[in-house]
């Protein structure tokens, strides 16, 4: 692939696949803006006052059309932004091009935001891109300033945050250690990346860490890392856990999957869901959305759970609850959405009906024991089309594995729809504003957004759906002991 980098005549640093895709990307941004009322409302509310003026945001998050609307929202609120994707495959190249060109720029004179992302990066390229969002020398030079990096991180999965923490740790130690024998291929790349950085500058990450006011983090995994860092006393700056906003976790997971699971199944296989037996592993928010979508298409859904409370919920919602091994031989469509590993094991795969579809909407590809499948004697893998593989098993039966066992809502569909992401990203924007404008309110630690902001995110999405909200009278508010304008619930309320 010939990647595009700035021409001599352009001041804008970036690296994307093809700037000429910018117009196609802009079309999609325009449509997405209509489906992201939360972000557009924030532009309307804060476009004038620009609360993010002065913020230099390093963003690491799937470089999609929806993220493009997020980026341009941050810019509209006054921030300077640099961006990398948080996954080697997830960039939509037309979105990246549109963001670089910007609404007012041209392919020849891009006037948007520096993006370093393209679909199909190598691991080395991926970490190079991540490194790039921390190099603000061009911006510093233009501003005549002496800082070296961003003062805010917007993270998804924690890779940007990881790089700062490890960088500073190794700088303090004076060198990057050799990789342990059992280090993953990816971690070796991280070490190499930092080794090059230390060679060029022995205190770059130390300075960046000092300049950083905080991070807002999107995912369960990233949040988990932050809580661990903080528990170990190693967290370098405050963090806001955006993942656990109600308008993120209960919407993104449940309603996002309800949309994208059947979409992915259809695009991958066109198989009728009606009348089929669909098995959903896990009845958390993801599983709830998956089960609802499948039932809505006339499938007969069986659920598995390890948590008796969720299991009882599934039963009360009318689903059969069983172990996968008890029913695998009846299953036409197997969906796993647990966030755990080895949920679907070889014994299960071997027991499924002929040409059963296997779909992961949980997390890593180890939810399904793909490794054992790949090393199974006598198994044969036939590509039906990209991201759809028939595995012919020694039993004489076949199964259809989607996205090689990775997230099929991303690999076979197009991920969460814009409206859902508008909720998640409005949380991100509000979290950035909080950390940036009220630094004293957030000493080092990990915080969830205050409930009134969570409610605000919801509020911003009501008009688009024609929702008419009822307003408390002062007497009613007093009666239940809440302010008229909210927040309305105790913290442990479960929605």
């Amino acid at each position: 692939m010939t990647l595009v980098t700035p021409s001599a005549t352009s001041a804008l640093p970036f690296k994307v696949a093809d700037l000429s895709l910018a117009e196609a990307g802009r079309h999609q941004l325009r449509l997405a803006e209509n489906e992201m009322p939360g972000l557009m409302a924030l532009r309307a509310e804060y476009g004038e006052s620009k609360p993010l003026a002065g913020a230099r945001i390093a963003g690491s998050l799937h470089m999609t059309v929806q993220t493009a609307v997020l980026i341009e929202t941050l810019v509209a609120l006054g921030a300077e932004v640099r961006w990398a994707s948080c996954n080697i495959f997830s960039t939509q190249d037309e979105a990246a091009a549109a963001v670089v060109v910007g609404p007012d720029g041209t392919v020849d004179e891009p006037a948007g935001v520096p993006v370093f992302a393209w679909k199909g990066e190598t691991l080395e390229e991926y970490w190079w891109c991540t490194d790039r969002i921390f190099d603000w020398s061009a911006e510093a030079e233009a501003a005549g300033a002496d800082w070296v990096g961003p003062n805010m991180i917007l993270d998804d999965g924690g890779d940007a945050t990881l790089l700062v923490h490890r960088g500073r740790e190794f700088e303090a130690a004076g060198s990057v250690p050799a990789a342990a024998d059992d280090a993953s291929a990816e971690y070796r790349v991280v070490l190499d990346t930092l080794r090059r950085s230390l060679a060029a500058s022995p205190d770059r990450w130390t300075r960046i860490a000092t300049e950083l006011r905080g991070v807002t983090e999107e995912t369960t995994t990233g949040v988990h890392r932050l809580y661990e860092l903080h528990a170990d006393g190693e967290l370098l700056f405050p963090a806001i856990n955006v993942n656990d906003s109600v308008t993120k976790s209960k919407f993104d997971n449940k309603y996002g999957i309800r949309h994208s699971l059947p979409d992915g199944l259809n695009r991958a296989t066109d198989v009728l869901m009606g009348g089929k037996v669909a098995f959903v592993a896990g009845y958390g928010d993801v599983g709830k959305g998956a089960a609802e979508a499948l039932r809505g298409q006339g499938a007969r859904v069986i659920v598995s759970e390890i948590d008796p409370i969720n299991a009882l919920q599934a039963a009360m919602d009318g689903y059969r609850v069983a172990r996968l091994e008890s029913v695998a031989d009846q299953v036409d469509i197997l969906v796993t959405g647990t966030g755990n590993k080895d949920v679907v094991r070889l014994e299960h795969l071997l027991a499924l009906k002929h040409l059963a579809v296997v779909a992961n909407v949980g997390h890593f590809d180890n939810e399904i024991d793909m490794a054992s499948l790949e090393s199974l004697e006598g198994a044969e893998r036939v590509e039906i089309k990209p991201q759809v593989h028939e595995w012919r098993l020694p039993t004489g039966r076949s199964i259809l594995v989607l996205s090689e066992g990775r997230l099929m809502n991303l690999g076979n569909a197009t991920g969460h729809p814009s409206f859902v992401m508008s909720n998640s990203f409005a949380n991100q924007v509000l979290a950035q504003i909080e950390l940036w404008t009220r630094p004293d309110a957030y000493p080092i630690g990990v915080y969830v957004l205050p409930k009134h902001l969570d409610e605000k995110v919801a509020r911003l999405h009501l008009d688009a759906l024609g929702v008419e909200l009822t307003v408390l009278t002062p007497e009613q508010a007093a009666y239940i002991g809440v302010p008229v304008e909210g927040p309305y619930k105790v913290d442990h309320y479960r929605y």
Copy 2:
């Protein structure tokens, strides 16, 4: 009504409507036991070890068939028990009779539990009954002991707890104050009750308060009072908030109302729900259950909400969200389940369709502004049958008000079904065991049950529904950082 009290030949103190109902009550207890697998499992698990041996429990909770199974479970676990109802109308007289007679007693020689409850108590009688559950002189005498009252309270709504706190307060002050001018009729009765008590014994409540090891409380209202008492530094003993267990709040409210709302509508009116416009005020757990039930019967459901997050949930679940005043003239069935006051106001009632049904499943009768309706010039009230009244309005239209604006799932139906109550009551039993057997773990304060007990309650109900729970491998448990046997979720997990 001729109430029954012990004969000269019986040692058992009690006051109920009619002991001859005991056999009919026992039939119903037997059926209910089959629907209350949680309580029966606790009997099986703890019937031998009797962890509640030594506990003297004063119970104040609707004296129904389900409560009868709870009472006999407490007894099976070793406790001594005295019982009153927590509502003047909610006693099922055959259940009360069965509990007094006991499984091994006879009408002539009752051998069960002292119950002081009958359907249709006056307020004076109600508080007399509540007072009775604190008078353990008979038991003390039999035991040759010097205590005067119970050492545990099991409460629903907080009346038993209130009596102790006020009694001790007035004893400390030396007298019961006169009622304030705006005191409610009921509070005047409370004061009279305590006045009599102080006259008989100036330190009775003070001693009882000392003897009490703690209280377990069932409802939102009661829990609210406890948190206020504790915040004001006045709480006299530790309390466990059973209401906020997941297996209570998310099951009782949602699945209980899903069951009892259509049941009450049918028994009251036989009106077809299919095709009708049903309005549900509030989309908390009660509203979610109500909306699901009505949709399941083919009604077209419109929801109102004050909280934008719940409003967005309702929209994403496919309901129209509107203010009542915007749509009242289309509404055939009006359901309110908010827990707030003045939710349905006179202007709404006047705008409803002719013979629209008005049903409260929220809390007090002030959810509907019944007071304004009752004082409305030109309105006429016609009793169609008990708990069902046609109000002829000056507009020329009529409305049907159920249960005089009070909880129609109790007034027109039979409340939550046994299976749901088995969850709530298993929480109560486990909370009693916690407080009684681990007093050191609970200094004065208000606690929710630890998550592992919440999960245990769910676990006890799975077999009855044929649920097959999946078990984590040790590797999987380690991978997600939880014990194999649970608890499985972080505290802020929302289910």
Copy 3:
């Protein structure tokens, strides 16, 4: 029971339970009128022109509140009416009283319609009542006319029609034959009734048969008898099959059962449906409504079918389809709605879960093999309450049989709700008008209502539900080849 018959001062012949119930009945009629917009619209449309003037209708149909609204609609359209119930248990005595008293009469001077019906008739009384609706001597005398009976029948189940056909047959033969050895108890009563009639008048039924212009029949069973009579060349007058109007069969069966099945389960047992395994035998319209209702309450529904098309529909609608014997040991709630016999057999009953509920919404009590249960050695029947019996089985388990195996939507609930009956009864009224006003259009034979009248019935119910109908333009109507005002579908259209 002291039945009420006319006083010396009243001209109105009747026999009902208690005229003092009339006021309570009138309340319910008033509420039902609001739920029966089809009948009320017919009163508005035809109240002036009185197309049924001259019609003398003998009605044999459950004497309920809804039927009362039907009767008064027939009267409003000009007919004279006499009524009996078509089931010994189905009369609502307050409805019967209200109809006799009439809207303008008093208990002392009833001015309504002659009704011969009360709850709990013996078989002898039942057939006496049916005989009474054919004796119009009082009316003839008042009119100075020489006819002896009605000129129209409105039938439900065909008993009125049967009596005429058998009566005329025996009159032609000169005598009523002796009962065959295997004749049912009921048929012996029929023969006795006719024997008395022939003794009093040898040609009464022959004259009545001549006077009759036709019959409109409500049920599958009655319609089946009519087709058989006609196939055998024995039908004496034209018949309209109201049962197979779309607005009857697809509404009454599906939406009526959807309403009344859960209602009956609740009133009988209060058992939670959520999470339970419910088995529905038959996936015709009744089964479809039953399954939808149970799923709407969170039950896990399993369906059985003999017809592969209906079975495939059930599968495509997301239900498991299995034989009862394959799953009986998992079933908590067993519903049968097939119209066949021996659907639930002893082997099934013995295999059900402990205290499983057994409910018939199909037809006769032989859907469940009650006879075998009743003669089962070691089985014991315990009445929990009327219409709810625990059968203790030799297996050590019990089951709960509702309504002794008969239709539980009638026995444990209150039958179809008014709105559904308004559809069925509007078909009846239109069929009566057709037969009465267009006799030449209907030579002897069995007819379904023309589609435009079926559509009319639907049309009359739209306003009450706020339905806004779209109107074809003349161009659109021409394009699809239908009149603007309908009918819109080919005869074999399946809806």
Copy 4:
């Protein structure tokens, strides 16, 4: 496009896009076979006896993967087959290639079935292809026979049937008439095609008409033409109306659209359906499936109807029923499935919400008044991607029109899924067997398949869904008056 025709060394006549796609096509056929149990069961049942031996079938039906399985089923049953598509765009080129190559042939030596079809034919090419399926000279020569054409037609839309009827008519008249002034472009092509045929042979169609034993027709439109031909006395051979089999009309329309509507919406726009207002014009089987799918995704569905019966069904199923003009300004997703014209008019399009999606799943593109939109002053059409166009309206709002107003389930999705088509095509195969093997049973006329064959089609699909059918005992069968093995229902039963 370079089309592929037989090489000199191949005896097989055909014309398709690219034979090298055959392997990819074969993969898809293999997967489809697993989803088409009805066809595969017919192969198993009749593969030995070959009831279609001697049949020469001219097929005109979308040349898709599913049709390929149909074609190879006909061959497996002994037929010779020639195929054209019935739509210029609907051919899947890889399926066409696979059928030509055949399971045992190679790209160099194709050994399958003569197919004349490719994606994107011109109208001239289309009718040339249709003409080709009637030219069996190669086969006749190989067989040493004197026939000229097929003896059976398998039709979809009636184009093959039309060609024969018009051809014979013009041959009888001696010439093809000039096109009328208002003749459509397509009809002019038909006339040209026949003009060339008459020039080459003046009695070809007359001979073909004589040789033809009958036609089986798939669609409403084609069936409508057949009934008209027969009513006009012009039908030349018997026809079986496959469209009105229950397993066709109630499955294909309802369950097919339930699957493909959301699929098409997703592929076209990725717009979230949850929470949106979706309007469905028409509540026939298509509308029922559409509404269920949209509700299953959390949309708020509003339905329109012209038929009061269907309107009442929609209301009883819980949908709001309104005219489009009453609610257009609230609509996010507009779906039309009526089969009528001008259902969505310019006034509606102008009133929709900004960027509302407009989707036709009814029939022709005139359901939406695209002509008026296209000629609207000030409207601008922007292609977002193929089959997805933004129309910028003079109101300042835009709408998204899918598939240029044509069937979006074909244009934006992949049509009905294989399992649904297996039902439709099994009806086709059984209809071919009926007509071919029992010619005496079908004099000239239009027939629906006998009910026992309709039931057979359903029966063939049960195993794949794990359905366990209940079997009548002889006593039960006698009781309800049906054979044990079916058919089970009266003809007017509505399912």
